[in-house]
Symmetry: C2
Subunit: 336 residues, 2 copies
Amino acid sequence: MTTLRDVARHAGVSIGSVSTVLNNTAPVSPALKAKVLKAVEELGYVPDAVARSLKTGRSRTIGLIVPDITNPHFSAVASAIEIACDASGYALLLCNTTDSPAKELRDLHLMRRQRVDGVILVPSGSGEAYVAELTRAATVPVVLIDRTLEGFDADAVVLDNRAASFGIVDYLVRAGHRRIGIVAGPSGMSIAEERLAGYRQALDEHAIDYREDLVARGAYQPEPDYRATTSLLSRRPRPTAIVSTSNHTMIGVMKALADQGFRCPEDMSVASIDDVVWATAFSPKMTVMAQPIVEMTELAAARLFGRLAGTIAGPGAILVAQPSLKVRDSTRPLTE
Amino acid sequence: MTTLRDVARHAGVSIGSVSTVLNNTAPVSPALKAKVLKAVEELGYVPDAVARSLKTGRSRTIGLIVPDITNPHFSAVASAIEIACDASGYALLLCNTTDSPAKELRDLHLMRRQRVDGVILVPSGSGEAYVAELTRAATVPVVLIDRTLEGFDADAVVLDNRAASFGIVDYLVRAGHRRIGIVAGPSGMSIAEERLAGYRQALDEHAIDYREDLVARGAYQPEPDYRATTSLLSRRPRPTAIVSTSNHTMIGVMKALADQGFRCPEDMSVASIDDVVWATAFSPKMTVMAQPIVEMTELAAARLFGRLAGTIAGPGAILVAQPSLKVRDSTRPLTE
DNA sequence: AGGCCCTTCCGAAACGTTTCAGTGATGTCT
DNA sequence: AGACATCACTGAAACGTTTCGGAAGGGCCT
C-alpha cells in the first residue's frame, strides 16, 4: 500500500506538501502541484480514509438503521440515502434491525464505535427505557424517519399518518361505503394509533358510528395481517371495504380475500397506505395513499447534512409530509 | 470522547494493559482485569474502531455493491449479508450503482479508500475495459453474486440460469404448450444469454422449433419489458405462454397483458424466474422458478469471510445454485 | 543465597494522515 | 539599502489504538 510518505519521497517534497496539494487547503506553486500530482498518478496512490478520520475526528460516514431492508418502503429509503451520501461524498453504513429494538441498540453502538458522523434512524422500539438507552447511545446527530420518539430530541421526517387514513376513509365514504373495516397496526405503536385515529375521525365527520368489531389489529407483517383480515371478514354485518394501513398489510389482506373467495373490488373494496410498483402489476391495481418516501428521505438527509455542516442548529424539528391518494382498481363505488 | 488513556489513568494502570484486557490478547491478573472493567464501565468507554483499524490494518468492514437496492432480489441479498456481518462482527458499507458500471467503479474506489476488508459485488458491467478497471480497483478479496466476470479472478455464487429457464419451458411444454414466448434480458449480458440458452435447449429437447419471433428483448426493467411484451403479443401466431426472466420483467409482462386485455392464465400462461412475496399476494399467484437467493448470499458471505480468515485460498471458485419450480396460478395446462 | 524462569505489567514506537509553527527566499516600502 | 511582509514549503507533533521489548517481582531449584 502506498502512503503519503511514498508519494512525498517520489516527488521529492515533504509529506505536508502532498497533503496540502491533495486537499488544496493552502496555495501552492504550480510546480509543486504538478510534481505531486504526477507522483500520485505514477504510484496509484489512494488516500487512507481511516488515517484521515483518526486525525480529523470526522469519518465522512453516516449510518442508516432500518427495521427491514426487504420492505420496499425501507429499501426506497436506503436508495435515496445512498444517493444523497454519494452526492455529498459520504460513505453509508447500513444496519437492519429486523424490527428488534435490542438489535437496534446494538447497531447504534456499532455506529458509535465506527465513529459515524451522523445517523438516519427508522426506530422500531418505544417506551421510556428504550428512549433512555437511545439517548445514551446517540452521540452524534440523529434524524428520525417515519416515527418520532417522545423525549428524544432529534429531527424527524414523518408522514401525516392521520391524513393518510382519513383520506382513504373519506374517499370510501364518498363512494358510498358505510361499513368500512380497517386492519390496523399493533396497538401502542404511534404510527398505528395515528392511522387509526384518522380512520375514526373520518367516520366521525361523516356521522358514521365507529364500531370496535370493524377494526382488526395486525402487525404490519403479511402473516399476522392475513389472520387479522380473515377474522375481520367473519364479522357481521360484513364490511364492504377494508383499509389496509401498510404495504405488508396489503399482502395479507389480498391473500386473505383470495383464500376466502372474495373478489376485489366486486365483493370487497380495498385501499392501502403505501404505494409500491408491485401493487400495480397485478389484478387488481391497488388504490393507495402514497407516501412521498423519496422526498421525505431526501429531506431527512438534507437535515442531517445540515447538522453536520453546522448550518442547522437548535432543537430537533418535526417535518410532516402529506400523502396523496391514487385511485385505481381495487375500490369501487357502492350503489345499492 | 473518552479514550484508552482516560481509562488507564482512571484505573491507575497503563494504556497497554487496558488494551490487553479489552481484547484479552494476553493473560492478566484478575485484579487488573477488574480494575480496568470497572473503569471502562464508569467512564462509558467505547473503543475507537477508526484508530484500531489504522493500527491493525484491518477495518472489520466489508462493502456491498448492488445494482438496485430497491429490487427485492437485491434487498434480499443486502438483508442476508447484513445478518452475516452482524454475526461475524463486521460493519457493512452499502453502495447502490443504479446499474451504472461507472458508478460501480467509483464505489469500488470508495471502498478502497475506506479500507474495507472485502467486497461483495453484484456486477453491472461487462467488457474487457470494465474488467481491467475492476481488476485494478479491487485490492481486497471480492466475491461476486449472480454473475461471473471473465478474466476476473474471484469467487462467485451464481444461479444455474440455464436450468432455470429450461425448467420453466419444460414444465410449460409438458402442460401442452407449443408456442412459448420469452421476454429475455439485454443481449450480451451473460445472465440473459444463459437464460435464453436454457429456453432454447428445452425447446430442442422437445423437438419444438426455435422461432426468433417468439423472443423479445427487454432490459430487466418494468418499462422496457412492458414494451417488449406488448410487441411479443402482436406476433402471429400468438404464443400461448410467456416466460419472464426476472422479477422486474414479471411486472412489465403482467401489466402489458392487462392493458392488452389478456387474462392470465385463461388467455395466456406466464411463468417467471425470481420469486417475491408480492407475486403471491395478487391475482394470479405467479408460477415461478425461485432462486435460493438467501442461501446463495450466505454462501457468498461465508466465502468472503473464509478468505479474510485465511481458511480459503487459491483461485476463485464458481458456486452454482439450483432454482426450484413453484407452480401456482399463472399457468394452466393447454388442452385442445 | 544466588541464579533462573515465569508471570504481569509498563512504556514507547508505529500505523497514515492533518495541521501548524517555523524557515528561507522573495518582493515591497520607506 | 535596510526593515519588514508575504509567500511557499518543511518538519514534527498529534489523533487513539496495538504490539512488543523489557522491567519488576515472585517462585523454584541447586
